[in-house]
């Protein structure tokens, strides 16, 4: 596990002085190294032809139904404010373009790590005086898919600066820790055995660049956290709640691993 070992090491000052001074000159915290799969390969590249065709055609892609619903929610007044998303943000095609590519991110006001779902609910609370939408609810999936869809084609470029670093470090730790009765970590499938077959499925690099996705197995759209919970279930580990700190940290780490991949939302997967 050279990658894990590297990532776990504190740089030796003498040996890495040149690199460190470069980093110090840039005024940033030490940058994480290049993700192990670089350039990253999207999960769609491991999908069958029919799934790829379904995703590529907006009229065949069932996820577009959630995007369309999200477009309606975007225009609707919500909460005691009576304000819609559009009332502040205007045209999502302009205002939201590229936004999803930067999530999850640390909220400057609270130092909390927020993913897109969390940002939408934060906006509802602070700007719309509305109740939060339940994780995995149709409305939250729809709004998330709609907002993320505005970034389709934009390369993921999540920030892992000093503010994000503690979240990132925890996410990385989760990625490499064995868990559950199957005693497996994310790395064992999605880093060490990419391209191999788990029964009929080809193991991908496990990137989240297409979420929310429409998953044929679910017959529904679903969030990245729902998919992550399915992996926890598969290794017979305790499942953290969708929206929990643990899954947010992991989402940030995964987003960093997926840097450069285009947002595909709404993706289609088996």
């Amino acid at each position: 596990m050279p990658a894990a070992t590297r990532l776990g090491m504190v740089p030796d000052l003498g040996r890495w002085s040149a690199a460190l001074s470069t980093i110090l000159l840039l005024g940033a915290a030490p940058a994480p190294e290049t993700p192990p799969h670089h350039p990253a390969k999207s999960g769609i590249d491991y999908a069958s032809d029919d799934v790829r065709r379904m995703q590529a055609d907006d009229f065949a892609n069932p996820g577009m139904l959630w995007v369309a619903q999200g477009g309606k929610r975007w225009q609707e007044p919500a909460g005691n404010s009576g304000k819609s998303c559009a009332a502040c943000h205007g045209d999502a095609a302009k205002a939201m373009k590229g936004v999803a590519a930067r999530y999850p991110g640390v909220d400057a006001a609270t130092s909390e790590l927020l993913n897109l779902e969390g940002r939408i609910n934060r906006c509802r609370k602070d700007q719309q005086a509305a109740e939060p939408l339940a994780y995995e609810s149709e409305d939250l999936l729809a709004l998330t898919a709609y907002v993320a869809h505005q970034s389709r084609g934009q390369p993921l470029q999540v920030s892992v600066d000093a503010a994000a670093r503690p979240y990132f470090a925890r996410g990385r730790e989760i990625y490499y820790r064995r868990q559950g009765q199957m005693n497996l970590a994310c790395t064992h499938c999605h880093e060490q055995n990419v391209g191999r077959k788990l029964l009929a499925d080809t193991i991908s690099e496990g990137h989240g660049n297409a979420y929310p996705i429409y998953r044929l197995e679910w017959q529904s759209a679903g969030s990245l956290h729902r998919r992550l919970r399915a992996c926890y279930f598969g290794v017979r580990a305790e499942m953290p709640a969708a929206g929990s700190a643990e899954l947010l940290d992991l989402e940030l780490y995964l987003a960093w691993r997926a840097r450069g991949l285009p947002v595909e939302t709404p993706g289609v997967r088996r």
Partner: protein, 153 residues
């Protein structure tokens, strides 16, 4: 290495292991002790006799789910994984005792193995409630699987 941080602590290295279930204390949930000799567990668990036909069911069914990772062409299954080595002819390559240890606790032979241990409860982290206090397979299922794998020659 980072992914080994959760690696198990061996209570009794290379010797007799006597483990008891912490929860769900039915008799069948308890692990019977076994003796490791070299890379084998020579004696059948609990002195049970294995049944190859039942072992094939364990291997192909949801309890063992071996085909998720291993190809066993002899089963005639349509889909088989390849995370682990193909098991065709494994009965000629490995003894019953070698097969037994490789199912019971492959981490004994290779701490970095991705293969789960099918008869171990200690050293695991964050096991979901319904699986706590029980091994993946029972001693009888292990013996049945060993018996089936021995027919693959």
């Amino acid at each position: 290495m980072a992914f080994m941080m959760g690696s198990r602590k061996r209570a009794v290295a290379g010797g007799v292991m006597l483990l008891s279930a912490a929860a769900c204390a039915t008799v069948s949930d308890n692990l019977v002790p076994y003796q490791i000799s070299g890379d084998e567990i020579r004696a059948p668990l609990a002195a049970l006799a294995g049944d190859a036909a039942r072992g094939r069911d364990v291997l192909m069914g949801r309890d063992g789910n071996c085909l998720l990772c291993h190809a066993v062409p002899e089963t005639g299954a349509r889909f088989m994984g390849n995370l682990g080595p193909p098991l065709s002819g494994v009965g000629a390559r490995l003894s019953a005792g070698q097969l037994r240890l490789r199912i019971v606790d492959p981490g004994r032979l290779n701490a970095e193995s991705i293969m789960p241990s099918y008869y171990r409860m200690e050293g695991l982290a964050r096991v979901a409630g319904v699986w706590q206090g029980k091994p993946v397979l029972t001693a009888q299922q292990i013996e049945d699987t060993v018996a089936y794998l021995q027919t693959l020659r």
